[in-house]
């Protein structure tokens, strides 16, 4: 079958503003959008630029706006989208070229929540013990691949780019609810900031956007509750 693929193109060295280009691509219904982008680059326009690496939803390189929803290009199939497909860069981040956005701010927010285990106790000779229940407590948030689909789908983030955003909160959640971690107080303090968790308006765009199926809004609410409950 043939699909009509519209791509929002932007070449900063020659274009004044982004503009749509249309491509006709012969595809199999099981092809993914990433396959289409690769075909366009190989057969029609070698200048088309996008990030990709693992091509099966784990590395998080190819999040983009596909038919107006944030998706990983390697995880969404043609048969899920129909014959007209539009692809644009992730919203809310500066566009560098074509489908490539500047991720430095996003990773800066990730770093700001101290995304690492904090435990200053002497290490035992073997592994620390953790019950299966305690391990399950933060399982969902360990799935995050930092693709930025959630943060850039969030209207609160669009309205206020200083908002730390869902992805960083999920990463904080992963440690706050890990029984081995002792850094919760520091992280909750960071997230209690005016650009922390309170910016969440429970719009649930992030949950729709997450390619890993993480219940992000619930994670944010659990962090909010922990902030409220910390002096109790």
């Amino acid at each position: 079958m043939e699909v009509t693929l519209r791509i929002l193109r932007y070449e900063p060295e020659t274009d004044k503003a982004p503009h749509w280009e249309t491509y006709k691509v012969a595809v199999d219904p099981m092809d993914r959008v990433l396959d289409l982008l690769i075909k366009v680059k190989a057969d029609q326009d070698g200048t088309l630029s996008f990030r990709r690496s693992c091509a099966h939803g784990i590395c998080g390189s190819d999040a983009m706006l596909i038919n107006n929803r944030n998706r990983l290009a390697c995880r969404i199939r043609v048969d899920q989208l129909g014959k007209k497909i539009s692809v644009a860069p992730l919203p809310g981040l500066p566009v560098v070229k074509d489908l490539i956005v500047d991720m430095d701010g996003f990773f800066g927010k990730y770093r700001s929540v101290k995304p690492f285990l904090i435990n200053e106790q002497p290490e035992p000779e073997r592994e620390r013990r953790q019950t299966q229940e305690d391990r399950a407590r933060y399982d969902d948030s360990t799935k995050c691949i930092l693709c930025a689909a959630c943060t850039t789908s969030c209207p609160s983030f669009w309205a206020r780019p200083e908002y730390v955003g869902p992805a960083a909160i999920v990463q904080a959640h992963r440690f706050i609810f890990d029984s081995r971690d002792e850094g919760s107080a520091e992280r909750l303090e960071i997230l209690a900031d005016e650009d922390g968790v309170w910016r969440c308006r429970t719009i649930f765009n992030c949950v729709d956007a997450c390619p890993r199926g993480i219940n992000i809004t619930r994670a944010i609410l659990e962090v909010s509750s922990a902030i409220v409950g910390r002096h109790g």
């Binding site: 326009d45 200048t47 693992c54 073997r126």
Partner: protein, 582 residues
């Protein structure tokens, strides 16, 4: 732009990150360069587990792990290195837990372990629960955990810097030169930067993208491996390339061996569990080379599903709880990429190009060596899939890729710190960027009428897949050699249309294609010369292992008209070669 450091790490997968962490802990001024963002590295896609003889669920010993590694590698493994691998696996896994890695847990709160291909108890008696795991995203959790620790320790990252040349001081490596740094292409603006350092670690991963059907990321183009070759460092044992039995049909995405470790079985068109015939004791958990060959045999005998070129992996009997808790990601891949419900239907699978056993030769301190006597290239290190230490020999066991990058990434970092404390930083090299600047400029300014990267790459991937795959023979390899040479010739005129400097991904791909062509050339030449069958290198015209002639490693040097092959001894310490049955 010139960046002086004491240590440079190229590649931010597991090996690179652990080395960087060791260097940071030692206070060595270190930079990590990656052509991606660190969390995009291919370590993150490893699924099933990381083996260490913790013995949390049943008796286990590192000696058994070492034996399995040696036997799995068809005795081409260097046993001094395998001993280190199996011993230090235990402490590295425990250290990862201390860093916060969220392993699955046993009922008493220890790290949970499961079975994996080729890992046995008591020197081959039967499967053993040795693979420590975090669901089926163990690699993801290793990558995340190491990156988190690097952030905690203030490691400096240069993201989306593609290394395009290696620098040496005092001559090239073959005349005794020492590593002096690297040249990197900053993708965001196309500028070339030099990074000067006393110690340089190469940790750029594999090169599976030379095959059409592969589990490997698009980024796995053997960058550092090819750069070493171009600078006169030999490549070791590249003829040994692992085809993982259970790739998604047509696209090669991996479905972890953990699926069989948890009880999944392979079926042919008649519904027979065919591995019973090929490996009576280990069956579906035989090593990957044997399972891939068994699948080809079934397919050739007309017992592929519907007579086609794939078989089934059946997980239906595992039940929802095991699938959801222990194999959630791979069953999700099956749903997304095949449109199949693994609880209700068997999954079509076929072998997929997965892992390079060969690579840049190193010693057990991860120092690059350049000949059969173990002569070190001062200051140059390699670890992980791009290196060949050699713990995988002719065929790697499942999970040992992760063990390798943890153990030898850590050793690299420690040895680099010791070395950096002893030597002076190299001086800036005049015109360091000039050779690669000219090379990139030539590609960029060539008339767009030339052939495209995509055309040449596709032809390379086809010939490698069809002629240099699971089964090989002299005639097909000779054809492949001619084809690769032809493609290298045509690649001299490869042309791109993107003239820009910002994120010129076409230029990047052209550069990567050159790397793949060089490594493919070495792989085919090494495979053609090795007239025996051992591990993943299976010659139909030489079906037997030949220890008299071929119990030796290949070292392929860049010559005038192609690779020139030499050989080096295998280290045998505990286990004499024996016939390999499972």
């Amino acid at each position: 732009m010139d960046h002086p450091f004491d240590a440079i790490v190229v590649g931010a997968g597991g090996a690179g990150l652990w080395a960087a962490l060791e260097l940071a802990r030692e206070g060595v001024n270190t930079a990590v360069l990656t052509k991606l963002y660190p969390t995009r590295s291919h370590t993150g896609t490893a699924q099933g587990g990381v083996c260490a003889a913790l013995g949390n669920l049943e008796e286990d010993h590192w000696e058994w792990h070492m034996f399995d590694t040696v036997k799995g590698g068809d005795y081409l493994v260097d046993q001094d290195a395998a001993e280190i691998l199996a011993r230090e696996a235990i402490e590295t896994v425990v250290e990862l837990e201390h860093m916060g890695l969220p392993f699955n847990r046993t009922p008493d709160g220890k790290i949970d372990q499961r079975r994996f291909g080729g890992h046995t108890s008591n020197y081959g008696e039967g499967p053993v629960r040795r693979a420590c795991f975090a669901a089926d995203r163990t690699g993801h959790m290793i990558l995340q955990t190491l990156y988190q620790q690097c952030i905690k320790h203030g490691v400096k990252f240069f993201d989306e810097f593609q290394v395009v040349d290696l620098l040496f001081e005092g001559g090239e490596p073959d005349t005794g030169g020492r590593a002096a740094g690297v040249v990197a292409h900053r993708l965001a603006d196309g500028q070339l930067h030099t990074f000067r350092a006393k110690a340089v670690l190469l940790a750029t991963g594999g090169f599976g993208r030379m095959f059409r059907i592969t589990s490997n990321a698009h980024s796995l183009t053997g960058d550092a491996v090819a750069l070493c070759y171009r600078h006169g460092i030999p490549l070791q044992d590249t003829e040994f390339f692992q085809f993982h039995p259970t790739g998604i049909v047509g696209i090669g995405i991996l479905l972890s061996e953990a699926a069989r470790g948890e009880g999944g079985i392979l079926l042919n068109d008649k519904g027979e569990r065919f591995m019973e015939k090929y490996a009576p004791k280990m069956m579906d958990l035989a090593p990957r080379d044997m399972v891939s060959r068994a699948m080809y045999q079934e397919i050739r005998a007309g017992r592929g599903i519907g007579g086609k070129d794939y078989v089934y992996m059946d997980l239906r009997h595992l039940g929802r709880k095991v699938i959801d808790e222990k194999l959630p990601d791979i069953t999700d891949f099956v749903r997304v990429y095949q449109g199949i419900e693994p609880l209700k239907e068997p999954i079509p699978v076929q072998p997929t190009a997965h892992y390079a056993m060969g690579g840049i030769p190193t010693n057990t301190d991860s120092e690059v060596v350049r000949d059969d006597k173990g002569t070190v290239v001062p200051g140059l290190f390699a670890a992980g899939e791009c290196a060949c230490v050699s713990v995988h020999g002719a065929n790697r066991l499942g999970t040992n890729s992760l063990v390798d990058l943890l153990v030898f990434g850590r050793r690299a970092g420690r040895q680099m710190a010791r070395y950096a404390g002893k030597v002076e930083r190299p001086l800036p090299i005049a015109d360091a960027i000039e050779p690669v600047r000219a090379e990139l400029e030539a590609i960029r300014s060539r008339a767009a009428a030339g052939e495209s990267v995509a055309t040449i790459r596709a032809e390379l991937q086809d010939v490698m897949m069809d002629n240099v795959g699971v089964y090989r023979e002299g005639k097909l390899l000779t054809e492949a050699l001619a084809k690769v040479k032809e493609l290298k010739g045509r690649n001299e005129n490869v042309a791109i249309t993107d003239r820009g400097s910002i994120f010129n991904t076409e230029l990047m791909e052209a550069q990567e294609l050159g790397y793949l062509l060089d490594i493919a050339h070495v792989t085919v030449a090494s495979a053609l010369a090795r007239t025996e069958s051992r591990g993943a290198h299976s010659r139909e015209d030489y079906p037997e292992r030949d220890d008299k002639k071929w119990l030796k490693h290949t070292l392929a040097y860049k010559g005038k008209d192609g690779p020139s092959l030499r050989y080096k001894q295998v280290s045998i310490t505990r286990f004499e070669p024996k016939p390999r049955t499972y």
